[in-house]
Symmetry: C3
Subunit: 175 residues, 3 copies
């Protein structure tokens, strides 16, 4: 059984001021995508860098999530610190994820360039930042997810299979 972490970074959602629609959207997308049995480990935390870092470490190292998807905290505001937290806990950064997601979001809104979202590897876990807006969750995941299972193969995580009619993954043939 694989585990997937979902972290919502939001001062207001973590206080219960509004419902965490984005965190739910990630979970729904995983149900659509994945053929493997899986368990979601969900956390909703305030936009505090140390809290975010500890939550990421916990989901990767203790919970053993092969994939941790965050939403929120990627903008330019003072309290937007999710990319910084991600960079601090990852051994390797993967700039291609942020580049592609911004490019896809640019087709919808010119403010896509304000999103500082990135991705990186911590041990055998891949951490991906998504923006906070519920609408962009699916757009971004549809763009990057075809590369996710092969990435997790390369970092020695579990073998992920998807519902091919929903999302097609790509694994290059060995040399």
């Amino acid at each position: 059984m694989i585990k997937i972490g979902v972290i919502t970074a939001s001062d207001r959602a973590s206080k219960g001021i509004y419902e965490d629609i984005s965190g739910v959207a990630i979970q729904d997308t995983m149900k659509d995508y994945l053929k493997n049995e899986f368990e979601i480990v969900y956390r909703c935390v305030p936009d505090e860098q140390d809290v975010l870092e500890n939550t990421m470490k916990d989901l990767c190292d203790k919970e053993g999530c092969c994939l941790v998807i965050t939403t929120g905290g990627t903008g330019p505001a003072l309290r937007d610190v999710t990319p910084e937290a991600t960079e601090n806990v990852c051994q390797k950064m993967m700039p291609g994820f942020g580049e592609l997601m911004r490019q896809v979001s640019l087709q919808y809104v010119p403010t896509a360039i304000l999103s500082r979202q990135t991705a990186g590897v911590r041990g055998s876990s891949l951490i991906i930042n998504l923006p906070g807006k519920p609408k962009s969750i699916r757009e971004c995941l549809d763009a990057v997810f075809p590369a996710v299972p092969y990435c997790i193969d390369l970092i020695e995580g579990p073998y992920i299979q998807t519902n091919e009619e929903v999302i097609k993954v790509f694994r290059p043939k060995a040399k």
Copy 2:
């Protein structure tokens, strides 16, 4: 009255060896774009990293510019240090600006990939690097400016309005 900083980084222009056409082009573009009353705070400095950093700090912190636009010093040459100066004075970097500007410039010249321009946030000020060539000033600003007023809202700067027939800005609706 809002203030906008314009910094030209150029050894030769700062010595008066040639006219600073790019700095003028930025000012002209602002006049075209903005509906707010505004004042330009203009500096033309040599390509010295400490001078650039001090000038950026001065325009953000003392002059209170909500937006500082630089031109020049973004290439690969030894004395091109504007992106390094920007990174040193900013609390948050915004990679989407550089990505989009390079993509737009690539439609005109393959050497667009040599431009290392970026953008970042210092306090309540947004700093944007543009390349040095006068021709690319308008191309780059047309590409990124639709996202600039909302970015400045998010960092708690003034409310910027544009002449919509010249450039359309985008502000997403609140959740």
Copy 3:
């Protein structure tokens, strides 16, 4: 006579377990592209960050290569450390190279976003990372090479000329 460095980062190729097709592909591409007389300085090394850094320094500083092209070690796996080595030995990073190469590779495979390849300047040498797959060597070089000779002009390397019917280089006119 100009010198061009080629570094293959591969644990298996460096042990002779398989042939280094990618390193050969880079050399063949240079023969196709270049009008200058040139010498290839070739090294095939394991994916060890300190070995890679020392090899890069050696090719730039002692051998005097104006261009060093690496292949391999750009993925997310634990032993993929070529971008980190590149960043450690360069004074300036050039994000536009990686962005463009990933964008081009994305036209072929969605896993292009997993490649962390970059480029940077060390003294008067340009270092460019290519992915490890032989098939992507030519795709990536065709995309970025039009900007390479002008980049090398700007960092005060030799004047590179190409076979214009194979690849067209671009040098902007001086201001």
